[in-house]
Symmetry: C2
Subunit: 419 residues, 2 copies
Amino acid sequence: MLKVGIIGVGTVGTSVAQILKDNADVISARTGVAIEVKMGIVRDLEKVRDLDIPLSDNVDDVLDDEEIDVVVELMGGVEEAFEVVKKALLKGKAVVTANKALLAYHRYELQELAKDIAFEYEASVAGGIPIINALRDGLSANHIESIMGIMNGTCNYMLTKMTNEGVAYNDILKEAQRLGYAESDPTFDVGGYDAAHKLLILASIAYGIDAKPEDILIEGIQNITQEDIAFAKEFGYAIKLLGIAKKDGNDVELRVHAALIRKEKMIAKIDGVMNGISVVGDKVGETLYYGPGAGGDATASAVIANIIDIARAGKKAPMLGFDKPLEGLLRLKATDDINSKYYLRINVSDRAGVLAKITKVFEIHNISVETMLQRPSSESSANLLISTHIALEKDIQDMIKELRTLDFIKSAPVMIRIV
Amino acid sequence: MLKVGIIGVGTVGTSVAQILKDNADVISARTGVAIEVKMGIVRDLEKVRDLDIPLSDNVDDVLDDEEIDVVVELMGGVEEAFEVVKKALLKGKAVVTANKALLAYHRYELQELAKDIAFEYEASVAGGIPIINALRDGLSANHIESIMGIMNGTCNYMLTKMTNEGVAYNDILKEAQRLGYAESDPTFDVGGYDAAHKLLILASIAYGIDAKPEDILIEGIQNITQEDIAFAKEFGYAIKLLGIAKKDGNDVELRVHAALIRKEKMIAKIDGVMNGISVVGDKVGETLYYGPGAGGDATASAVIANIIDIARAGKKAPMLGFDKPLEGLLRLKATDDINSKYYLRINVSDRAGVLAKITKVFEIHNISVETMLQRPSSESSANLLISTHIALEKDIQDMIKELRTLDFIKSAPVMIRIV
């Protein structure tokens, strides 16, 4: 018998307790032991819940209970959760968490504290997809060349609808909010921060890179319009919000942004709220993992897989996959040094000489144009839709800065990277 | 230091030895120990090899070496390999194998023998894709509702080429043989037997079902023509060779056959030599795993992941995922009892009254037609391309038997299941 305490019994916590009960037959057949939720910790004991586990509002009722083997942290937040899991580890309890923000900030301190104790976090990245399992254990023979992931279902849902149904950004955002896919303040999702937290976790497993969200390039999908979608379609691309980790010698690029991606690639075929992560290993080549990135039951599936791992074998691998990180060799590449192809949408006054002036600015900044489309956007203005050959991020940023100072540029140019 | 003996140093064995050397930095960082190949066993010591590990042609040089912790079985075949891994287990050595045929026949005896010893086999299904890892460990909280996999790259390559380039079956088979994707006797691949071995392994992990290849429905892709491909395209399907495991109450269907599958499904989008496996869990929903199903380095990536698992934690889970199988409850469904929609191609003499006679035979066998196309195939004959509503396998088989006795049926009807 393995005893579990759940700290934070919201959607996911309720699913964890419910599935441990519903699927007890298969879970005990797979582990050889029964798994019991001994206690759940909630903020508000008065709230009516459809759940028959003992509840308390005092976290110490789990932390101090010597019979509890595994603490499942589902309270969310960063610092308070960090204090709670630290205490659990110090008491020798295994920890399972779905908390990506906690890991984005504190994963190396936790790896240190969890030296001989199981600390698992499959649900923190891409919900029900066992991507931690695949990357840390399944691909462990490889140097990881790149990771490219659709890791935010909200953004993927919105971009898919914008592409397939021609809906405007603001309209689809409202629909996503109505369906519960997006929060009333949607910035965490549509601004790329949620995907960034997940990317940092994967980058630690792949590369041992200790970066925080503020160290890396994070952009969202807020500026994407139907013009961009139309351009993408015309040139054979899909637009996706991607988290990208890429090794280039001893440099590792980490970045989250909207990207134009050839529509033949498997990852471009992942639509709707689904998540998918492509991993390229130096020996295995490309593998890809697809599934639901959110939802109570899907996330609980991952949480419980970790509990079962612990029931079966205790700690099965170093928390972040490395006993001795390769950090000494690999370092985070500066954002300015990233190379990419770029797409630009520049709204200009529709008058003689403008194109010549713009192409001159491109030339000054070493940006070479691959394709250009001009489309009228109003009576007196036009959109220039431009894709470039490979260029340096710093050059593009400098060029955009210069473009913004020109009087015939009618609004800030929109840039999307092409991968 | 973990010491490994490799029995069978062909393409995969050579890759294993080479990658353990090439990627020693990342492998030892991930395991905390160095992994050394102490001995390789080959049949022919005279053969020139580009490899610097000690070699012998006597398998006992590995089995009797007390310093060797892990035996990697890559010799292939069934009974001889079974004897070798049995001896290894009896001597307390962990075993890693890529041998799907061995497992298709002896996995339950091996699970029994390997009770407290690690026995891993990630490479036996879908090469470099960590699908055993995902199914056994990552999705362990779920009752598995279905598994649907493209698990044979040769067939998928051939069907993709037939679809995209209009090439005839025999021509593409010759090309696949020239490229080394198909053997000179291609039956094992194109007849579905390779996929069946893999399906049986996955079915044991998902359901604890102890079936052998001869117990299940196995068909190949040999009868598929451009007529079928054209029909599929017209009605929005792709044709794939699928391994299917599906739970229906306490019955489990296991079957390998060509299938028409809606082209919007993720698994229908997997083209060329790539493999992909869709798994539906009752809690997580659908997840899908995509990657290279063959090749020395990709397969070796999976073999080494298992060696790393053993270096990190010894035995991390019961070999087939169950401590106590659920077999008592679940049983293999008889092939006759399978329900499906069906597509039929019937070549008939082009004369009056034939259609009426055929539809009468359909009616007698309770087969209800969903769509029908008639196309001339020569001056005096026509192809009827028919899709049915859901019907019973036994009824379809009986109907086909009856159709074959009719004088206006010019060749055996071709049937492809629709999933």
